[in-house]
Symmetry: C2
Subunit: 161 residues, 2 copies
DNA sequence: TATTGTTATACTCTATAACTATA
DNA sequence: TATAGTTATAGAGTATAACAATA
């Protein structure tokens, strides 16, 4: 559309809208594949522990944007399921360090296989040009988003707003 | 990579992987913005009702991949919050038809504004070329995914596998 | 005294089973 | 009798408040 040339400021809004729409569709698509045998909340913990090995409970709670009591109970169940392991910190006996177990890693790998299979069903129906555009656009998106998420994790601990 | 030219079958896998990564990042990004004042489950109902006006409770449960009792209670709370309205079907007095209230629609609009704002923070840091690639790729993705989701909704009622 | 984690209690969400009303 | 929806009951997830252990 010619409008785009006259109003370049509009373009990011367009992209935001289509990205949000894609995310909503994906939520439905993946919701059907489910995260079994772990719940969505438990899976979220596993994702975080994968990227923050040996984190303590309060930090994990902050990364989840949750509270220490909720996170403690979540870890109780994850530990009972053999997906997460607790360890008393060697430097501060008040702290508990969490980490993924081998089973936890295996569960994540399996989940990713199932999610990507669901994605493949959609991607296979797209043209090669559209797939390549999607790949390039998303790679750039991930690069920026990953940085923001790591920054945000630090802020979470300092203020709730 | 030259490999891509020799193994075109690999390319959709690459795209599936980067799409899955982007979705995981977005989950964290949007998880911080939250769906308040409605819960994630309640918001999911609102999204569905927006696209399936005057659906009955069993169909809504099927679309959620949930059960009638859970869905009934969910609607109790949504109705109490003034986000959803119940109506006895004029053709079958056993059936209850659900629909979004004006407040429900307003909540969805507000949520979308907040989510898109969070997206904008990421998109603004991308190059214009990357944003346009993302837009084109995602538009094609949405077109295909939307069709699959509507097909899948019909199957949900007939079998659980 | 401040910080880390847990326990106590309450509400939402989810499921299965039993029940009511209508077809 | 079959179907639509609700109620009964139980367990997971979340929150705030009160508590225990350690620094």
């Amino acid at each position: 559309m010619i409008v785009t040339a006259f109003r370049p400021r509009r373009e990011p809004n367009e992209v935001a809208r289509v990205t949000a729409t894609a995310a909503e569709l994906l939520e439905v698509l993946w919701g059907r594949a489910s995260t079994a045998p772990a719940s969505a909340s438990q899976t979220r913990v596993l994702f975080i522990l994968e990227h923050h090995e040996r984190v303590n409970l309060r930090t994990l709670a902050a990364l989840l944007a949750s509270t220490p009591p909720s996170t403690s109970r979540l870890c109780d169940r994850l530990q009972a399921a053999g997906l997460v392991e607790r360890e008393v910190s060697p430097t501060d006996r008040r702290e508990v360090l969490l980490r993924l177990s081998g089973r936890g890693r295996a569960l994540l790998a399996d989940l990713r296989v199932r999610r990507e299979r669901a994605l493949r069903d959609v991607l296979d129906q797209m043209s090669s040009a559209d797939r390549l555009a999607l790949r390039d656009g998303l790679e750039a998106f991930c690069a920026v988003a990953a940085v923001r998420i790591h920054d945000g994790a630090d802020e979470t601990g300092s203020r709730t707003a």
